[in-house]
Symmetry: none
């Protein structure tokens, strides 16, 4: 990839990455979600485009949102790992800094001997979670010179940020991952992480005093620091913008240096944001979340409906005349699996310089026969840059 | 690739790499150059062949001729870099040796303060260039114990070879790459390159005295040494021959140890050379330049015409009964882009041991659906060797 960085040049051509989260599916009654959806506008575009399939990480690997997105942004998902704590913090919308250790927490239940009897405290309600977190935050906001920031997630989940100097994440996770065991003591695995371990032990001790059954213990894991990455501007000479409705995707975009645009919660809102900012950037990442959400819910028809809703905004998107359009998923989320999957992503590439496939529909099966073949998601960025004439020649 | 080297064996089967420089295109009025061309003979062969697409360096990367050729010869284009000076020297037909530092020069214009006002000296004529180079050569042929060899290129371009002992190329390029600046002084960036820098500074000083406005200065860049590479004979046990009309391609072939065959300037001449030498070698690299040249000129119909001319020699080529034939480009040169491009190369592989696709035409779109799929150009050599039964089994 360093090659791309060296060859990239600035010009005024505009690139649009329309990312339909969890787009790819698996047939139910013979058709995938994308095949079932009525998508006249996407189909019309597909006919003038070249299609292909991408693997986010490797064949057979089901990726999380972090690696799947990084790959599409042109960052090797094996090289740039995003720790669990960081992803959770981005997911609840916390502003993470380079001074933070981010941690994923569970409220849990221990018996009178301290043994874990329920790792999720009976899945307490999100409301109850918020109440407990606010008590913890009120009583614990600083340990030594370290700020403690506590944020509730859904049900039994929460996030803690430990913000201070000289904090490193190499400490033991306290979640024993099974019932009947004691929580693991948080010890440092190297010298420089000893301060973190000490602060964490103090945090757990203070929390225990404040907590009541069933949520009478915290289990912590996914200790992670905010990763340092070169920005898309530094690497690709792009001026990139993110249009997304969910915090985690804004956080991922911020990691690679995108400007995060103000935006409402609907797909129409996202379209408006795109239109209003069209003149100010040369790369747009527009993220549609609900396709994935409904796939995760196992709601086949719901997923179909959202794909159709995206189709309905395509004429307005095309009126902006992007020089390069890629429409794809970060990973597949087949409704019948109710989860992310390893299936490659259908991908459509449109520019003035492609050899069109002339397929009449945008579907997984046509993408499998498309002119781009099957390739790593990591190559999507170089393809977009090339089609935007933003890469110089390599070698003489 | 070292695997291939270890497994290769000598036999009498003959391999033909018919390299149509810049073959791949992009549609204009719906058809690429290759689709537009009437190629009954290529099409007939395609029907009995297996097709595919190759990437010379990586997805989205537009390669120069150097890396694009090396990959097809089975040499990793990232590992074996050919410096600009070397390629230019090969391009003008200079016999480069391992004692040379090769440099690309521009005649340019500086004002009375020494500031560059035209990096190309108003693009002086090639005739004028030859006249100036001959004056320089007459007056400067040795500096210290280093021979200086000066050769004109087209318009303002020339090549210098500094030939001597203890010369290394890590010195500053003197071309400031913009007008209004002083030329950069040639200093060494490491200890061992100090002799080179000293010789180059002396060369520039001497040249300046001899030069007159508008071509009153030289700007030097692309300092490079002749790369050391194992030969195709050493690596693949081949006895390889090059048939080409342009100096650069003969130079590239010589780099990997091919015999350079005497040849006239037309495609028919190249065919004759192939026929006359058919019994003497087991690998033939036959290079057709003009497809690329006309693509670079933006001459769509001209490119189509040359493809058709190549088609016309195919019956005679097939009469030689090569055991393995690959027909492909080194890189694409779409006429609408007037330059090399990142598009993959259409490729046709014929041997007794392929599973034919039965496509009726040899086109980019059929290659995209071909049985070979999409793969790196670097794998072409192992495919040719395998189809020539020149690779032993790996492992027991």
């Amino acid at each position: 990839m360093e090659l791309i960085d060296k060859l990239s040049v600035k010009n005024s051509r505009k690139l649009l990455l329309l990312l339909l989260d969890g787009l790819g599916g698996v047939p139910f009654d013979g058709k995938t979600e994308l095949e079932k959806a009525r998508t006249p506008n996407l189909d019309l575009l597909a006919e003038k485009s070249v299609l292909g399939l991408t693997d986010p990480v490797a064949s057979g690997i089901t990726p999380g949102s972090g690696p799947a997105h990084l790959a599409l942004f042109g960052y090797d998902p094996i090289k740039y790992e995003i720790g669990r704590g960081i992803l959770e913090a981005l997911g609840v919308g916390l502003d993470v800094t380079y001074k933070d250790i981010a941690v994923r927490g569970n409220f849990s239940t221990v018996d009178d001997k301290g043994l874990v009897v329920d790792r999720r405290a009976g899945r307490i309600s999100t409301e109850e979670n918020k109440r407990i977190c606010s008590i913890l935050q009120k009583n614990i906001n600083k340990i030594e010179d370290v700020d403690v920031i506590i944020h509730p997630g859904k049900e039994h989940r929460f996030v803690v940020l430990f913000r201070g100097d000289e904090l490193y994440p190499e400490v033991l996770e306290t979640d024993p991952q099974k019932v009947g065991s004691l929580p693991i003591e948080c010890w440092a695995v190297n010298k420089k992480s000893e301060k973190t371990a000490r602060i964490v032990r103090e945090f757990i001790k203070s929390a225990k005093v404040l907590l009541k059954t069933p949520a009478n213990m915290v289990l912590l894991r996914g200790f992670a620091k905010y990763p340092t990455m070169p920005t898309m501007k530094e690497r690709f000479k792009l001026s990139p913008a993110c249009i997304a409705t969910y915090p985690m995707y804004k956080g991922l975009a911020r990691l690679v240096g995108m400007d995060i645009l103000e935006c409402g919660q609907t797909i129409r809102d996202e379209l408006d944001t795109l239109k209003n900012n069209w003149n100010n950037f040369d790369f747009f990442y527009l993220h549609i979340k609900k396709i994935d959400s409904l796939g995760e819910d196992g709601d086949f028809d719901g997923k179909v409906r959202i794909i159709e809703e995206v189709d309905s905004i395509m004429p307005a998107v095309l009126l902006l005349e992007p020089d390069v359009i890629v429409i794809t998923g970060d990973h597949s989320t087949p409704a019948i699996l109710k989860s992310h999957s390893w299936h490659p992503n259908p991908l459509l590439l449109y520019s003035d310089f492609i050899i069109s496939d002339a397929f009449k529909t945008f579907t997984e099966r046509n993408c499998a026969r498309g002119g781009l073949g099957r390739f790593p998601s990591l190559d999507v960025m170089s393809l977009m840059l090339a089609n935007g004439l933003k890469l110089k020649k390599y070698g003489a």
